[in-house]
C-alpha cells in the first residue's frame, strides 16, 4: 500500500541521506514506531522526498531487503513516484522485514534509465532500529504516557501524526491505548484504525476529566457507551471525574457499590474496543489493569493457516490407471501385430487396425491426462477471511500457498491496495526465497522464480470496498434477509446468524452492477429456508463442524471459521466466496476458499 500526501504534516523524519547522485533530490526516512519494528509483520516506512531541481522526476522508488556481508538482495519492492519540480512528498509504504534482513536499501531511480539513481540510502537495521519479536503496544497521547503499564506491557508512545493512513501499517501492532489526545484524526487514519480493529486489533480508550476535549464523532462511534455527561465521584478516597452514559457492550468493572461502569468492552469485527470511563493513569483502581492483561499464547494464532497450506491435496495421475492403460495397449498391440503379420501373408493387411489401435489409446491417454488437476504445473490454495461492518470497507486477510511441479517464472497480480509478505518456512535452509513486489497505479505484481517442487507461502492483507451487504426485515416469524452481492461471483452456503440462531440462505447470485441501485430479485431475497435454533458458542461451532466431508477443503473452512471467532457473532451474514484475490496464472490449478463475514 502506498499513500502520498504533502509534507505539510510534521513527522519524525530523522534519517538524513548519505551520499547523493543528484543533490537536487533530498530523501529522509523513518521506519516503524519510535524506531521499533516487528519482525515478519507489516511495518510502515515513511519516505520523504523533495525535488529542488529544475526538472520534474518520474522515478521508481525501490526498497531492497539485504543480507550482509555478501550483499545478497532477497526481497525487493518498487513503486512509481512522480516528483514535480519544487515538490515535496511523503510516501508511506508497508513492508514485512524478515528476521534475516540486516540492511534495507531505499533508492530513487529514473523510471526508464535504471542506471540513473537520484538518491539512495541504506539503513543498518540492527544498529539504527530495534527489531521486536512480539507485537507492539502503542500509547497515543499528547501528554507523556508511562513506558510500562501495570499490565506488564511495554508501551511506545506516539502522536497522532505517527498514525498510519492504511491499516496494513499496523501489522505489527497488537493494541493501542488512547490517552489524552486533543488532536483530531485524519479521515484516512480513522478508516485505517477501523480496518485494523476489524482485522483483530485492540483499542483501549481512556476518558475522564478531559473527555470533553477528547470527544469526537469518530470516537463516539467507536466506544461502547452512549455518553451523556461527566460526574465527580469518590473512589477509594480519590476524587475522580467519571464519564456517564448508557453502556453499549459488556461491563467488565463497575464502581464499587454503585451501578456506574468503569470498564466496558465490545467486539468490533475480529477486534475489541475497551472504554474506560475514568483515567486509570490518574488513580489506582482495584482490578482494572488485571482485566486488560492480554491472554497468553495469543500471538501464534494468526499463523495457524500456514499449516493447512502444506496439507493441500495434490492430484496426480493414478498409477493404477496408467498401468492398466499400458498393459491393455501392449496386449492389443501384440495381438494385432501378430494378426497383421499373419494376414499380410494372406494379402489382407491389418496394419490399419494397428494404427487405429495406437491412435485410439493415444486419445484415451490424452483424455485422462487433460484433467487440469494433473496437467497444470502449479497447484495453489488461496484461503482467507474478509470482514466488514455492513458498510464501507472490507478488510481481507488471505493466506496463499503454492507448490510448483517444475521450475517456473511466475508473475502474480493483485490489487494495488494490497500488501503481501512471504511466510518463510521454519527451516528455510541455505536458500532464502527471492521475490519482487512491483506496484503500479492499479496492480501489485509479485514476481518470482519458483523452483521445481518448491513450496511458497504468502500472507496478504487487502482493504477494499465491501461487495456484499445485507439488510434485515424483522417482523413476526422468520426474519427476511436481503443480500446484495455486487461481487462478480456467486456466493455459496450463506448463513445468517442472529442471537444464537442460524438461518441457512444457500446460494447468493450476483447482482447486476449496471442497475446502479439496490435490487432485490427473488434469488437475492434469500428468505430463510431452514431455521436451526442454536446457542451461540459451542453448538454453533459444532453446526459448522458438521460439514459432511472430511476433505482438506472442509478442514480449511473450519480453521477459517475458528480464526474468525464466528461463534461469537451476534448478528452477521457468513458466506463462502470462490473469488480470488490473486489473479490465477494459466499454469495454476487453484482452490479458493474465502469466508466473508458481514456484521452489524
Amino acid at each position: 500500500m502506498i499513500c502520498l500526501r504533502d509534507i505539510g504534516l510534521s513527522i519524525i523524519a530523522v534519517g538524513i541521506l548519505s551520499g547523493s547522485a543528484y543533490a537536487d533530490v533530498q530523501m529522509q526516512i523513518e521506519l516503524g514506531f519510535n524506531r521499533h519494528y516487528v519482525v515478519d509483520s507489516f511495518t510502515p516506512l515513511w519516505v520523504q522526498l523533495a525535488n529542488s531541481g529544475r526538472d520534474g522526476i518520474r522515478g521508481l522508488l525501490e526498497i531492497s531487503q539485504k543480507i550482509a556481508p555478501k550483499e545478497i538482495v532477497k526481497e525487493t519492492y518498487s513503486w512509481p513516484v512522480e516528483l514535480p519540480r519544487g515538490s515535496k512528498k511523503m510516501l508511506q509504504v508497508n513492508i514485512a522485514i524478515h528476521a534475516y534482513t540486516d540492511r534495507i536499501q531505499i533508492m530513487l531511480r529514473d523510471e526508464k534509465d535504471v542506471t540513473k539513481v537520484y538518491q539512495s540510502r541504506e539503513i543498518q537495521l540492527h544498529k539504527e532500529y530495534m527489531p521486536e519479536l512480539q507485537k507492539l503496544v502503542l500509547g497515543l497521547s499528547d501528554v507523556p504516557f508511562p513506558q510500562r503499564l501495570p499490565t506488564g506491557e511495554s508501551l511506545q508512545t506516539i502522536g497522532v501524526e505517527q498514525l498510519v493512513n492504511d491499516s496494513t501499517g499496523y501489522g505489527g501492532v497488537r493494541r493501542i491505548y488512547l490517552g489524552r489526545i486533543f488532536s483530531s484524526f485524519f479521515k484516512g487514519q480513522q478508516q485505517a484504525l477501523k480496518n485494523w480493529l476489524i482485522g483483530g486489533g485492540e483499542l483501549v480508550v481512556f476518558s475522564g476529566e478531559n473527555w470533553h476535549r477528547q470527544r469526537s464523532p469518530f470516537l463516539e462511534e467507536l466506544i461502547p457507551m452512549k455518553v451523556s455527561d461527566t460526574n465527580e465521584i469518590d473512589l477509594d478516597g480519590q476524587r475522580l471525574t467519571i464519564v456517564t452514559g448508557e453502556p453499549q457492550g459488556v461491563v467488565l468493572l463497575r464502581v464499587r457499590g454503585q451501578d456506574a461502569p468503569i470498564l466496558i468492552k465490545r467486539p468490533f469485527g475480529a477486534g475489541t474496543i475497551f472504554f474506560s470511563t475514568i483515567d486509570p493513569l490518574a488513580a489506582e483502581i482495584d482490578g482494572f489493569w488485571e482485566l486488560l492483561k492480554p491472554p497468553k499464547g495469543e500471538e501464534q494464532e494468526t499463523q495457524s493457516p500456514v499449516e493447512f497450506l502444506g496439507r493441500l491435496g495434490l492430484p496426480l495421475p493414478s498409477v493404477l490407471k496408467v498401468s492398466g492403460l499400458v498393459i491393455v495397449f501392449i496386449t492389443g498391440f501384440g495381438l494385432l501385430g501378430l494378426l497383421a503379420i499373419e494376414d499380410k501373408r494372406q494379402g489382407r493387411p491389418l496394419t490399419w487396425a494397428l494404427l487405429l489401435w495406437v491412435l485410439g489409446l493415444s486419445g484415451a491417454a490424452a483424455l485422462y491426462m487433460s484433467n487440469p488437476a494433473f496437467s497444470k504445473s502449479l497447484r495453489s490454495l488461496e484461503a482467507g477471511i474478509c470482514r466488514s461492518l455492513n458498510e464501507g470497507e472490507t478488510f481481507c486477510q488471505l493466506w496463499y500457498g503454492l507448490l510448483s511441479r517444475k521450475t517456473v517464472d511466475l508473475r502474480l497480480s493483485t490489487r494495488s491496495t494490497a500488501v503481501v509478505q512471504q511466510l518463510l518456512p521454519a527451516k528455510p535452509g541455505p536458500h532464502l526465497f527471492d521475490v519482487h513486489y512491483a506496484y503500479d497505479k492499479d496492480n501489485l505484481k509479485i514476481l518470482m522464480r519458483v523452483e521445481d517442487r518448491q513450496k511458497r507461502h504468502f500472507y496478504l492483507e487487502s482493504p477494499q470496498k465491501a461487495a456484499v451487504t445485507f439488510s434485515l426485515q424483522e417482523g413476526e416469524g422468520t426474519p427476511v434477509v436481503k443480500v446484495y452481492n455486487r461481487s462478480n461471483r456467486t456466493l455459496f452456503d450463506a448463513i445468517f446468524i442472529k442471537e444464537g440462531k442460524a438461518f441457512c440462505l444457500g446460494e447468493i447470485k450476483m447482482t447486476r452492477e449496471q442497475l446502479n441501485k439496490i435490487i432485490c430479485t427473488a434469488e437475492l431475497k434469500a428468505q430463510a429456508v431452514t431455521e436451526k435454533r442454536l446457542d451461540a458458542g459451542a453448538e454453533l461451532l459444532n453446526y459448522f463442524e458438521g460439514f459432511p466431508s472430511e476433505s482438506v477443503e472442509e478442514k480449511i473452512k473450519r480453521t477459517l471459521f475458528s480464526l474468525a471467532k464466528a461463534k461469537e457473532l451476534r448478528e452477521a451474514l457468513l458466506v463462502w466466496s470462490p473469488q480470488e484475490e490473486l489473479v490465477t496464472d494459466p499454469r495454476e490449478e487453484k482452490t479458493v476458499i474465502k469466508l466473508i463475514i458481514i456484521e452489524r
Binding site: 502444506g310 496439507r311 493414478s318 501385430g337 496394419t351 490424452a366 496437467s375 497447484r379 517442487r453
Partner: protein, 231 residues
C-alpha cells in the same frame, strides 16, 4: 507402394523389437509416475524419477534402431553396382519408416510423459525429432555393421561395445556432450535451458550429420566393393 511400406513397418523380424520397446518403456513410464498425496509429502519426495522414462527410452530406442538397421541388411540380397544408389535410398526409406513407426507406437506414453513432466507439445515434438535423428544414425551404424561381417556374435559384441562406449563417452567427455542424447533431451525438456543452448544443438546436429554422412559413404562403398568382389 503401401504394401512395400507396410512390409517395412511391421514384419516378423521387427515386430518383437517394437513389442520390447513398448514393454520396457511402458514399465519405465509407470515407475516414473510421481506418487500422489498431500503437498507437504510431495515436495519432500526428493528423488525425481521423471527422467527415468527418457533414459530408458534413449537406451531402448538406440538398441531398436541398430537392430532395425541390421535387419535391413538381412532382408536384402546382393546388389549389383548399378543399383546400389537406388538400393541405398530404399534402405534409408525403410529405416526412416521403421524408426518413425517405433516413435509413433509410443505416442500414448509420450502423452502421459508430457503431463508428468509438464513439458510443452513443442518440447515433446522436438525431443521426438531429436530421438529420431539419433536413432537414424544408430540405424545406419547397424546397417554398416551387418555389411562388414556376417558373424552374428561379432555383430552383437561390436554393436553393444560401441553403443555403450558412445553413450558413456559422450556423457562424461565434455567436448562430446552435444552428441549425447541424455544431455540433449534434458536440455530440450528444460525449456529455458534449450533456448540458451543454440550452439550446443548446432554442434550436436552438425556432428550427427557428419557421422551419418560418413556411415552412408562407408555402407555404399562396402556394397560397391562387395559387388566387384562377387564379379
Amino acid at each position: 507402394m503401401w504394401e512395400r511400406v507396410q512390409s517395412y513397418l511391421i514384419n516378423s523380424h521387427n515386430w518383437s523389437l517394437y513389442v520390447s520397446l513398448l514393454i520396457f518403456t511402458g514399465l519405465a513410464l509407470v515407475l516414473a509416475l510421481p506418487p500422489g498425496g498431500q503437498a507437504a509429502v510431495i515436495s519432500d519426495y526428493g528423488l525425481n524419477l521423471k527422467m527415468l522414462f527418457v533414459i530408458v527410452y534413449i537406451v531402448l530406442y538406440g538398441i531398436v534402431a541398430m537392430n532395425l538397421g541390421q535387419q535391413i541388411k538381412f532382408a536384402s540380397y546382393q546388389v549389383p553396382s548399378s543399383q546400389v544408389r537406388g538400393f541405398m535410398r530404399t534402405c534409408q526409406l525403410a529405416l526412416i519408416a521403421q524408426l518413425g513407426f517405433a516413435l509413433f507406437i509410443t505416442t500414448p506414453y509420450w502423452i502421459v510423459f508430457k503431463t508428468i513432466s509438464y513439458a510443452s507439445w513443442a518440447q515433446i515434438l522436438w525431443g521426438a525429432g531429436h530421438l529420431f535423428i539419433y536413432g537414424f544414425v544408430l540405424g545406419l551404424f547397424g546397417l554398416l555393421l551387418a555389411t562388414l561381417t556376417d558373424s552374428e556374435i561379432t555383430q552383437f559384441n561390436v554393436k553393444y561395445a560401441v553403443f555403450v562406449g558412445f553413450l558413456l563417452g559422450t556423457l562424461f567427455i565434455s567436448a562430446a556432450h552435444p552428441l549425447n542424447p541424455f544431455h540433449a533431451l534434458s536440455f530440450i525438456l528444460d525449456g529455458e535451458r534449450a533456448g540458451q543452448s543454440a550452439l550446443f544443438f548446432l554442434e550436436g546436429y552438425s556432428a550427427l550429420a557428419l557421422i551419418g554422412a560418413l556411415l552412408l559413404f562407408l555402407i555404399r562403398r562396402k556394397y560397391l566393393s562387395a559387388d566387384r568382389y562377387e564379379r
